[in-house]
Amino acid sequence: MPDRKRVEIKINGESYSAEVEPRLLLVDFLRGIARLTGTHVGCDSSNCGACTVMMDGVTVKSCTLFAVQANGREILTIEGVAKDGDLHPIQQSFRDHHALQCGYCTPGMVLSALFLLSKKPNPTEREVRLGVSGNLCRCTGYQNIVDAILAAAKRGGQVGRRPT
């Protein structure tokens, strides 16, 4: 057995520290150690985006990153997106536009939308579709998700701002 490594990861502003096997995936650190189960595992093979989180301000697939690689970095998961029980404008917009059915893809979709709007506050429909092209949804047919993100962008202001 290789040595376990101590890793410390800041998740939604809170520090979590553990000794882990180097092969522990970030998504299992989040779900199993930090007990934040909002981040989902869909394909476990880098394709579906259900496991999307932000690391230092950019989206990554947490099933395709070892926890040791995230040592010392800052992670934002879906649990950190709403503030004090108030939905983030993107979440509110998903709700208003019926942009989720089973909800399995939603945490990843919201993080991808947040990242997109942080880069492009006024995206075109095509840019929105490309922005969530790393996230698969088996339920909605995407149209309502695209509508929700476009509507969130139209509200303007600080929609793409990372929650702090």
């Binding site: 057995m1 290789p2 040595d3 490594k5 096997e21 180097p22 092969r23 995936l25 476990d44 093979s45 880098s46 985006g49 999307t52 950019v58 989206t59 990554v60 697939k61 395709t64 990153l65 070892f66 040791v68 690689q69 040592n71 991808s112 990242f115 997109l116 579709r129 490309l130 922005g131 092209s133 790393g134 996230n135």
Partner: protein, 291 residues
């Protein structure tokens, strides 16, 4: 889905990375963005016992221009290339390719160096770097050396890098004023690897005669393919449908695409032909834009 166990080291500099790689030999692997290596490890296509993480090494992520060349650090992620103003103005062919790689999450972690070292026959950077006649700087126990892109790729997923070598930088000569380049990729859907792809970098003279041309093709064989045979047909000629048709024929002759779920060899050859003709036309029109 878990990869086999391994031991993990974070290298602080290139020398340390190279030393670790030499110490552990064939059982060690560099990890950069992990966007190819981790899936390979999960599928047990790669079974490293030791991972040397180079992502934390300072000074390997940059894009700048020096001595007529754009230099890109090996750890530069695809997204940074996509967003770079220098790339947009100096090497539009790279700006074509970057947003076609995978999806936003992959482009946020995956690196130029990792993509080249992974040497996927259908990868996007191989053909581009070949068409631009790039050079790859590698550092190993025996010091630094530079490899030409055309000598870099050996076979599918295999390069000339020695086990103790780290790719540190990609050097791309900036083409002259009347140059234009274009990269086209056909994929089954957004984010997928290429069914086939073609990169063309052209230089025309005042009369529109081709002075220089680099052609690279992806998913055209077991490695990214440079196609001197097709280049020879275009060099010294004006860009015309007839010339490009012949170049396309030569490309399809030189190509030996691996048949897979993305298409038969025969189908991929047809795609290559079409893409070469279209990419060359776009490249030629870009020469005019810059004149």
């Amino acid at each position: 889905m878990y990869p086999a166990s391994f031991d993990y080291f974070q290298a602080e500099n290139v020398e340390q990375a190279s030393r670790l790689l030499r110490e552990y030999g064939e059982e060690a692997r560099v990890i950069a963005g992990g966007q190819s290596l981790i899936p390979f490890m999960k599928y047990r296509l790669a079974l490293p016992k030791y991972l040397v993480d180079i992502r934390g090494i300072p000074g390997l992520s940059f894009i700048d221009k020096k001595d007529g060349c754009v230099r890109i650090g090996a750890l530069t992620v695809h997204r940074e290339i996509e967003e770079s103003d220098l790339i947009r103005s100096q090497l539009p062919i790279m700006r074509d390719a970057a947003p076609l790689i995978g999806d936003p999450q992959v482009r946020n972690l995956g690196t130029l160096g990792g993509a080249l070292c992974h040497a996927d026959p259908a990868g996007d950077w191989g053909p581009v770097v070949l068409a631009l006649e790039g050079r790859l700087k590698c550092v190993g126990a025996n010091g630094e050396r530079e490899l030409e892109a055309k000598d870099f790729f050996v076979d599918a997923y295999s390069t000339r890098l020695q086990p103790d070598e780290v790719l540190t930088e990609v050097v791309l000569p900036v083409p002259g004023a009347k140059s234009g380049g274009a990269y086209l990729k056909l994929a089954r859907r957004t984010g997928d690897f290429a069914m086939a792809s073609v990169a063309v970098q052209l230089t025309l003279d005042e009369a529109g005669v081709c002075q220089h041309i680099g052609i690279g093709a992806g998913a055209a064989g077991r490695t990214p393919l440079r196609v001197p045979d097709a280049e020879g047909v275009v060099r010294g000629e004006k860009i015309s449908a007839t010339v490009l048709k012949e170049a396309a024929r030569r490309l399809s002759q030189a190509a030996d695409p691996i048949p897979d779920l993305r298409g038969s060899g025969e189908y991929k050859r047809e795609i290559l032909k079409a893409l070469l003709q279209r990419a060359a036309q776009i490249a030629a029109s870009r020469c005019k834009e810059r004149r």
